[in-house]
């Protein structure tokens, strides 16, 4: 029987990696990811998870050890955040380009300087183009479910790509929530044993990571791009299958109270739950507003997104990262670009908020939406606004 327990989300993620029968974990501690890897180390120490735990000396080595383990045919898991994700940066590209289906939980964190251990999406945006599948989760249950899905999706022979599961640092990683853990036997069926097609082994020598001269490099990159885009089908199938087996349903774009809404608020990550409260309040006041959340960040679900916002006149996007000197918030940039060729284009208004762990309350979201409507009608001198900033 599946059992429901109250558990810190970080620990729940480690338990999910255990349910998935992870073979190798290589990790380096960083707030707010620490509880995930501490719990994994403990599960291994207590004999509850039969895995090698490699306590590496840096995140660069964490991801590098994951490359080696995954290429040898081991199911491989790690977790990081903020500075750690940045230190991994060049290694992340190798994981996706060499088609190594590593799963990584990222407890999203702001970037130095000034040093901040608190959450935002600066780390995520810096690794946007690394070629990983990237999924955002909003609560503990979604985190557990999507870590399981991540293994199944990444290891699918049609995909073979690494997957990041993003959760907000502290706001999600450190809260205690009720989580339903699926039964081991069902998980075992849901995630077939890992069989990497060409593992490093003397029985069948392979050369992995040869260098690409100009005559071939572009083709390798095109193949990678086609593959990442095509993975959406497998992701959708996986979520559909998950829904059938475990009765919880996921989709690339999630809509909340969007019926008849001319104005849509758009968010990504666990702030979405607060945003829902704001939408409820505004609906009570008779405003026709709804909420759209991006769950699948890469590959970006263009079709589903356009469908979800097809009736909107105004979209108010809340970003949790800055693109210094650039256009608007990074999510907003993508949204605008996705809609540029549409016949009926909504106005897209950009806000940046919630940097470095600053909270956004339901009242805050209400204010953002109202200001967004105002900007969409009257225009603004600024490309975007930073909500609630002093000075």
């Amino acid at each position: 029987m599946a059992k429901r327990v109250g558990i810190e989300v970080s620990l729940a993620i480690a338990e999910a990696a255990k349910l998935a029968n992870t073979d190798v974990v290589a990790a380096y501690p960083i707030t707010p990811q620490t509880h995930i890897v501490e719990h994994l180390a403990k599960l291994v120490a207590d004999g509850e998870l039969d895995a090698a735990y490699i306590p590496v000396e840096s995140e660069h080595s964490a991801m590098s050890a994951c490359l080696g383990a995954s290429a040898t045919g081991a199911r491989t898991f790690t977790a990081t955040a903020g500075q750690g994700l940045e230190l991994m940066h060049e290694v992340l590209y190798v994981a996706s380009s060499m088609q190594l289906p590593i799963v990584m939980a990222v407890a999203n964190r702001a970037l130095s300087s000034p040093l901040s251990v608190w959450g935002d999406h600066s780390d995520v945006m810096a690794v946007r183009d690394t070629g990983w599948i990237q999924i955002f989760v909003e609560n503990g249950q979604e985190a557990v479910d999507n870590v399981l899905c991540a293994f199944r999706i990444g290891e699918d022979p049609k995909v073979l790509l690494p997957v990041m599961v993003h959760l907000d640092g502290f706001y999600l990683s450190h809260v205690i929530e009720p989580v339903l853990f699926p039964e081991q036997s069902l998980v075992d069926k849901f995630i077939p044993p890992y069989k990497y097609p060409m593992p490093l082994h003397p029985d069948k020598p392979v050369t992995m990571g040869a260098f690409g001269p100009p005559i071939i490099y572009t083709e390798t990159k095109k193949a990678q791009e086609v593959n990442l885009r095509a993975s959406k089908e497998v992701i959708l199938q996986c979520w559909a299958e998950f829904g059938k087996t475990f009765k919880r349903h996921y989709s690339p774009i999630e809509s909340y109270r969007t019926e008849g809404a001319k104005v849509l608020l758009l968010t990504m990550g666990s702030f979405s739950e607060t945003a829902m409260t704001a939408i409820d309040r505004m609906r009570e006041k008779g405003k026709e507003v709804g909420l759209v959340r991006i769950r699948l960040w890469r590959p970006f679900p263009f079709e589903e997104f356009r469908q979800a916002v097809s009736n909107a006149e105004t979209i108010v996007v809340v970003d949790r990262a800055l693109s210094f000197g650039g256009p608007v918030g990074p999510v907003c940039s993508e949204v605008r670009s996705a809609l540029y060729d549409e016949k009926q284009k909504p106005k897209v208004v950009s806000f940046v908020a919630g940097l470095g762990g600053r909270d956004i309350t339901p009242a805050g979201f209400e204010e953002i939406v109202n200001r967004g409507i105002e900007i969409s009608q009257k225009g603004s001198e600024n490309e975007f606004e930073i909500f609630g900033v002093r000075g």
Binding site: D50, T207, M208, A210
Partner: protein, 310 residues
Amino acid sequence: MEKYAVYVPKLVTKKENFAPGHRACIGCGEALAVRLACKALGQNVIVANATGCMEIVSSQLPFTSWRVPWIHTLFENTAAVASGVESALKMLMKKGRIAQQDIAVVAMAGDGGTSDIGLQALSGAMERGHNFLYLCFDNEAYMNTGIQRSSATPFGASTTTSPAGKMSMGQFTWKKNMPAIAAAHNIPYVATACPSYPFDLLAKVEKGAKTPGPAYVHILSVCPTGWRCATDLSIKIGRLAVETGIFPLYEIENGRYKLSLDPPKLRPVTDYMKLQGRFRHLSEDLIAKIQKRVSAEYAEIKEKAVADKE
């Protein structure tokens, strides 16, 4: 070494797991060292290779010189990749997903990939005690990118980033002692080797691969392109490095030093240096300074070896 000298033709395999046809320069001591190492390692091996000359000359898509499983990912992370491979093998064998057998996990990198940018990853992997062999192919500079200095470049050598000039005598720092750094991790086996002494190299690589736990072999690899020497002098210059005491051949087994070769009398360093354009600019004073340091360092190692013998 003793064993090989007698039975060489019978004992050394003719099989080339580092296949000919690669793109190394003529007279490349590093390619020769890799070739010999592959003979010693045999078939049951997985190689993790750092970015550098050897990776570039051997792996241009869609070709490969590797007849053993081989992975290259980045420049500085090779020891970490190897530690992942090793941990995975152990776990997969434990779980019965692959057959139980001895597979040597071997990391290969240049001096730059080892003593500079990859030192942290190497230190971590040695400290964690992975069962792997690390081979450093030391050609005393970043050759792949065009002969820039590394911390393994010898004092006085002119490179493209430590050029000799009116205000510069070339590299002004002394070569970092990587074998001592490896040994300071208390790993069971550390050795130096040079392809000019092929049987010694074969024996050490084999021993390193068979050692349970981390092993480190530092291999001096003459690079005619970067050292500005004639391409037919690679072997000779390697020998001179040993005969002058500039690059002594030794092992450090469980902390105990043992000289593999102890010439009755060391040749003067000029015998070695005068064949190489990278030292051409050096004054007699500087050469005397180098001679003094080489003699002292050799005496130190010899002292350790004598003490450890007792």
